[in-house]
């Protein structure tokens, strides 16, 4: 096994035992990034010099006998997290030259742990997309089949982790942007309970839905990373006072007596039969490990996509009004008046999908339509949350597919935005409710594409989801499969 296949725990042991240094580890992954990234396009920025410098600092701390859980371990951040002194593009031409004056809380916390940042990861523009094709910096390719999309919007994070460019990465999830790419790239990713992870310095898309989380090759690595990410942050007014937790603590609890609910609505029309079979096998595996399985109903889940495509664009149109061509964004050189400067800079700076969502959001919030769309969607959002409330009175965890189909070919859904939106049909309700959910690998299609299974939990049951996923991964080896990448051994 090579360093790029190691889990965080194995890497930590190697560093502690001085089998290799943080600098050697960093150099070996940088070499792998240089070899594989030209094709995968997972990294937008590689911070080689800064990475070697933090690795040297980590080595000095290790030599002094420090034993921090994440000290010297490599990471890369989705390019939506602000990093002082390193560009933060959010996948947009609008922020092509933007260097944030401060770092996101998540970035600061992980740096303080001694993690070594290797760079910033590609993403759909402003996190709007499910295929990573809306990025101004070009699409990311799926390491399992480079003709396929990696999913989105955290597609760079998922591809980088799956390809072994980095053992863990941060991501963000507004409607499925951690779980859907995790499923399509065969990795594990958790969207925590809303309020767990600080949104300070995380560029806002839809503030009542956005949540940062962890992406890794195993639930255990997600738990390690999330334990350092989750904390109450006074700089984020939606940060929860009880956000912090040690997610490793309950990881090994047996699944005996676990009540698993399987929603009928997740297995209806539109679900790929290979995905259905693999997820069913995953559920059977949980039963074999001691869980009791029962069928449940989430009757309002079919309305989640329409509810989301009113609320998320509405919030986005408001959040993205700050990009005006004046203070820190792309500025049109064609403008002659101030109004023209706004109009031209915003048209030139935003890509087609972002413009589309801004238009939808502006429309549903405009005079005469607010009650019919925005207020109505907020009411349906209540109904969706109520569904989950009722379900979690009877079960501990809800299990279903993460996506209706495996990775699709690049370009397949570009002409039809609505077809693309339906890629998130099973992930969106979770964000509307604000509950935690996790995707983990549960099989492969005949053609060798990964399939993801989704676990959903009640508010603040993030630890239970990680526990169930970890136990599942103790008895299965889907998460240990690696794509066959032609690269010089790193």
């Amino acid at each position: 096994m090579d360093l790029h296949d190691f889990s965080l725990r194995q890497l930590r042991e190697g560093l502690q035992k001085r089998d290799f240094s943080a600098q050697e580890l960093t150099k070996s992954l940088l070499k792998r990034i240089h070899t594989l990234n030209p094709e995968l396009n997972a990294f937008v920025t590689v911070t080689e010099a800064a990475a070697l410098e933090s690795a040297a600092q980590a080595d000095a701390r290790l030599a002094k006998g420090e034993s921090g859980t994440l000290l010297g371990l490599p990471i890369a951040h989705k390019d939506i997290f602000c990093t002082a002194d390193v560009p933060t593009t959010c996948g947009s031409k609008m922020l092509k030259n933007f260097v944030a004056p401060y770092s996101a809380t998540v970035v600061e916390r992980l740096a303080a742990e001694g993690m070594v940042m290797l760079g910033k990861l590609n993403m759909d523009e402003f996190a709007m997309g499910s295929s990573n094709e809306t990025s101004y910096f070009g699409p990311v390719r799926n390491p399992w089949n480079t003709e396929m999309v990696p999913g989105g919007s955290s597609g760079g994070s998922a591809a980088a982790v799956a390809a072994g460019l980095v053992p863990v990465a941060t991501g963000t999830d507004t409607g499925g942007s951690i779980r859907q790419p995790a499923a399509l790239c065969g990795i594990t990713g958790i969207k925590p309970t809303y309020g767990r992870v600080s949104r300070y310095g995380m560029i806002a898309f839809a503030s009542s839905l956005d949540q940062g989380g962890a992406m890794a090759r195993s639930a255990e690595d997600c738990a390690l990373l999330l334990s350092a990410m989750a904390a109450h942050d006074p700089r984020d007014s939606t940060s929860h006072p009880a956000a912090a937790s040690d997610f490793l603590r309950g990881l090994d609890r047996p699944l005996q007596g676990l009540r698993v609910g399987v929603p009928e609505e997740f297995f209806g029309e539109g679900l790929d039969p290979e995905v259905a079979a693999a997820v069913q096998a995953g559920i059977d595996q949980l039963a074999k490990q001691g869980a009791s399985i029962q069928s449940i109903r989430l009757p309002n889940n079919p309305h989640a996509v329409s509810t989301y495509y009113v609320l998320a664009p509405a919030e986005a149109s408001s959040n993205l009004s700050r990009f005006d061509g004046v203070r820190y964004t792309h500025r049109s050189s064609a403008a002659e008046s101030l109004d023209d400067l706004y109009l031209q800079s915003r048209y030139e700076g935003f890509g087609a999908e972002v413009r589309r969502r801004i238009l939808v959001g502006t429309y549903v919030l405009s005079a005469g339509y607010y009650d019919a769309y925005y207020l109505k969607a907020q009411q349906v959002r209540s109904l969706i949350r109520e569904d989950f409330r009722r379900a979690f009175a009877e079960v501990d965890v809800i299990v279903g597919p993460t996506t209706p189909e495996p990775a699709f070919p690049l370009g397949a859904k570009n002409a039809d935005p609505v077809a693309m939106y339906l890629a998130d049909i099973y992930t969106i309700a979770v964000n509307l409710a604000g509950i935690p959910a996790l995707s983990l690998p549960c099989g492969f299609t005949q053609s060798g594409l990964p399939i993801g299974m989704q676990l959903m939990g009640d508010y603040f049951a993030d630890d239970l989801l990680l526990n169930v996923a970890h136990r599942y991964q103790q008895e299965s080896d889907w998460h240990l499969a690696r794509p066959n990448l032609k690269a010089g051994e790193a």
């Binding site: 400067l341 413009r355 429309y363 604000g434």
Partner: protein
Amino acid sequence: MAFDEDAVRRTAYLARLALPMDEVPAVANQLEKIMALVEELCAISTEGVLPMAHPLDLEQPLRPDQVSNHDERQRLMASAPATEHGLFLVPKVIE
């Protein structure tokens, strides 16, 4: 519901997006499809259902009104596309 070309032009101006004329028909068509997707919401009975704005029922936290930011004018303006004498430049607004 009709997302006609007039509605697109009106909304684009409200959103301050200079949509070129030749793009309007295609955008109108896509927005029409998106609105057709969300139209199904109208049929759902929501009488007496409280609108949900946010997942957590938390009160807005308050903190003492103290200065916590440092003067970082130069850093904050470093990414600005056009500045002069420490000010953001915009096209002339008063003749």
